[in-house]
């Protein structure tokens, strides 16, 4: 992937890149705003910087310390979760929270305050960050921890990389006895079925998530498969922990952009129908390696290319318990009605464990993730409608997956926005930030820097 794309490959922007190599180096001096960019797995424009410069962090990939007794790992911010898993799983530790791909950096996991299948038990990634160093464009370096510069800690977790560069971080891992997950799959007939299975699963399962058949309508609306699991109990301990990372690999690859006609209403319908009925309506249990359990899509390298060169739009929202049933119903109905329904739709409960991050996305309720092939205006309008439904339900949309939310929505979703804005590094900005703050709002420095500031024209050019 060229770094001018995000994972959704929409939007596309013109920007420069600079690779970072050493954590002790000063930030490069460049014209225009900078933005740290790890492995580019954010879907929309929060990892893009039109007209500016991306500071590529994958070169900051050194481990600093790992204590196998306590499970505390310290590493540079460009280290990927994949690297951490290879290091820690053979020694009996696992990520405290992991998103659906292991190809994200630690810095990115903090900046987006990512969540995983255990949100109802463990909260977000930011809760497990013990401390990190924040390098600002004025050359200052701050140690940030819950009890040291707590305001910088709170602003930077979920801060979308705007408060400065995280050079290294220290994370508390979670102990495991073996690398296997006892997974149970429970079909549910509709949205009420999901709510029921979800409620009864959470007490006994660390990991839960559901796939939803986005094409089912009427009484079957919201039908799908509920996955729940725990790391396998100790009778499986004799299975070889030391070789546990061996299945990390990318067996399949999407070698090129698939032409648009491969994904159509028929193929998506067929996939959804077969996927649901594969389960034959019965619950089932199986022992699986953590890799396919947590990272099913990582086994297909470059899976985002199935959407072709026009890319796709992700949409992920959370709606509070009070309005969840009606809101989810409306979101699913609207997305099924739109031109091309979502291929992979995921539903999950968020618990009530608070994040230290001011701009953190997860909050109590239900979260729904959908993806739509980019068919231009029509798709954008659909996603904008979903954004509006979410706002009316008192929910929030996830910036890491967004390409369309309105400035009004952003302000409604993130009430601490103004407090956060004071902590943004004057040299840092992103396409996302400029889109959801179209007025000169928290970027006083841009005026101050005269010619080097981003010309307003580029803001308009950004669709």
């Amino acid at each position: 992937m060229s770094p001018s794309d995000s994972w959704g490959r929409f939007p596309r922007v013109e920007q420069r890149t600079r690779s970072l190599v050493w954590r002790s180096d000063a930030l490069p001096k460049v014209d225009g705003p900078v933005l740290p960019h790890g492995l580019g797995r954010s879907y929309g424009d929060s990892c893009l910087n039109a007209g500016g410069t991306l500071l590529l962090t994958p070169g900051l990939d050194r481990l600093i310390d790992f204590d196998a007794a306590t499970g505390v790992v310290r590493c540079e911010a460009g280290v990927s979760l994949d690297t951490l898993l290879r290091l820690c799983v053979p020694r009996g530790w696992f990520l405290p929270v992991t998103p659906g791909t292991k190809f994200v950096t630690v810095g990115g996991a903090i900046a987006n305050d990512v969540h995983g299948k255990n949100h109802h038990r463990a909260g977000t990634f930011g809760r497990h960050v013990r401390r990190f160093e924040l390098l600002r464009s004025d050359g200052s370096r701050r140690m940030c921890a819950p009890d040291e510069n707590p305001d910088w800690f709170g602003a930077t977790i979920g801060g979308l990389g705007l408060t400065g560069l995280i050079t290294w971080a220290e994370v508390q891992l979670a102990p495991i006895r073996n690398p296997f997950v006892m997974q149970e799959t429970v079909p549910f007939d509709n949205l009420d079925g999901f709510l029921r299975v979800s409620a009864e699963s959470e007490a006994d399962h660390d990991f839960t998530m559901s796939w939803v058949d986005c094409l089912a309508r009427g009484k079957k609306l919201g039908r799908g498969l509920f996955y729940r699991g725990n790391f396998a109990p100790s009778q499986f301990e004799r299975l070889p922990l030391a070789k546990s990372h061996l299945s990390h690999g990318t067996g399949l690859a999407v070698p090129m952009d698939l032409p648009g006609f491969c994904l159509n209403r028929l193929s998506v319908s067929a996939f959804n129908f077969l996927y649901y009925h594969r389960q034959r309506g019965r619950p089932s249990r199986q022992l699986v390696h953590y890799d396919p359990f947590f990272y099913p899509l990582d086994s297909v390298y470059g899976w985002n290319r199935i959407y072709g060169s026009r890319g796709f739009l992700q949409f992920q929202c959370v709606v509070p318990h009070a309005t969840a049933r009606d809101a989810l119903k409306e979101l699913l109905e609207r997305s099924a009605r739109g031109g091309l329904p979502s291929f992979l739709s995921v539903l999950k409960t968020f618990g009530d464990l608070p994040s230290p991050g001011w701009m953190s996305f997860p909050r109590p309720g239900f979260t729904l993730a959908l993806d739509f092939a980019n068919r231009g205006e029509k798709t954008w309008r659909l996603v904008e409608e979903l954004d509006r439904v979410t706002r009316e339900a008192g929910g929030a949309v996830y910036p890491a997956k967004d390409a369309r939310m309105s400035p009004e929505s952003f302000a409604a979703y993130f009430p601490q926005r103004d407090r956060f804005a004071a902590y943004i590094d004057p040299a840092f900005s992103s396409s996302f930030w400029r889109r959801v703050n179209p007025v000169s709002l928290p970027m006083p420095s841009l005026e101050g820097r005269g010619d080097s500031a981003v010309p307003p024209a580029s803001l308009l050019a950004l669709r």
Partner: protein, 245 residues
């Protein structure tokens, strides 16, 4: 290679090699110019499984310091059975043409300092009748071209030096491995536009260790450079001198 000195340890290829050696459980002695960066590489290696990692910040152009450097490394690791010479500068051909001072730096770093270190290491390895010397040369040393003949000459001289050393040490059981990478995507080439011919430092490190394990003589990494350089070496000089290379 279980006790290895790495010279130029903060270079991208060296760092990738250090990681592979650390994962194999080798003890390492790292040498580079910047102490802070060296420490970052050393901690990374230790965290990835190297049982012992020491480092020393030193400008390798100071050839007078080489004997004591090797002695220290020898003491620190309780002997050495491997050395990876990865330090070098690309230089700027234009600057090197205009000023001898610029050219001299390239020749000193890439050839003279390497030859001095190799003399020290070779004598010790010859005496113990064991060891592997792995040296990063370059495809640029295979034929002089107007676009980088100063760098090419420094690497070409190194390649010839290694041929002689290999010939001398063959009877002592010491392997001398010349590694010739092509284009590699590293900070050394950050200013150069990248194309399909560029390899990653990780690919080169893998090729380097494969060659060391197999006690190879001269290897190109990636392998296709052997063919490219065969063609380039085969062009008759009367034709070659008129080409834009």
């Amino acid at each position: 290679m279980k006790k290895v000195i790495i010279l130029g340890a903060t270079s991208a290829i060296a760092q990738a090699t250090v990681r592979l050696l650390a994962a194999r459980g080798a003890s390492l002695y790292l040498v580079g110019r910047n102490a802070e960066n060296l420490e970052a590489v050393a901690r990374d290696a230790a965290t990835r499984g190297a049982p012992k990692v020491e480092f020393r910040a030193l400008d390798l152009n100071d050839c007078d310091a080489h004997a004591s450097l090797v002695e220290r490394a020898w003491q620190a690791l309780g002997g050495l059975d491997g050395a990876v010479l990865a330090h070098g500068v690309l230089g700027d051909q234009d600057a090197s043409q205009r000023s001898w001072a610029a050219a001299e730096v390239v020749l000193r770093t890439n050839f003279l300092s390497a030859a001095s270190l190799l003399t020290e290491l070779a004598n010790r390895f010859e005496a113990q009748k064991a060891g592997t010397l792995v040296v990063i040369s370059s495809v640029a040393g295979d034929r002089g071209r107007q676009s980088n003949y100063v760098y090419g000459a420094s690497k070409g001289a190194l390649t010839v030096f290694l041929q002689g050393l290999r010939n001398r040490l063959a009877k002592s059981g010491v392997a001398v491995v010349t590694v010739k990478p092509g284009f590699v995507d590293t900070p050394m080439t950050a200013h150069v536009p990248k194309n399909k011919l560029f390899a990653t430092p990780e690919q080169v490190a893998k090729g380097l260790l494969r060659a060391a394990d197999g006690r190879k003589n001269e290897v190109y990494v990636p392998g296709f450079w052997a063919l490219i350089m065969l063609i380039i070496r085969s062009i008759p000089e009367p034709v070659f001198k008129r080409m834009k290379l």
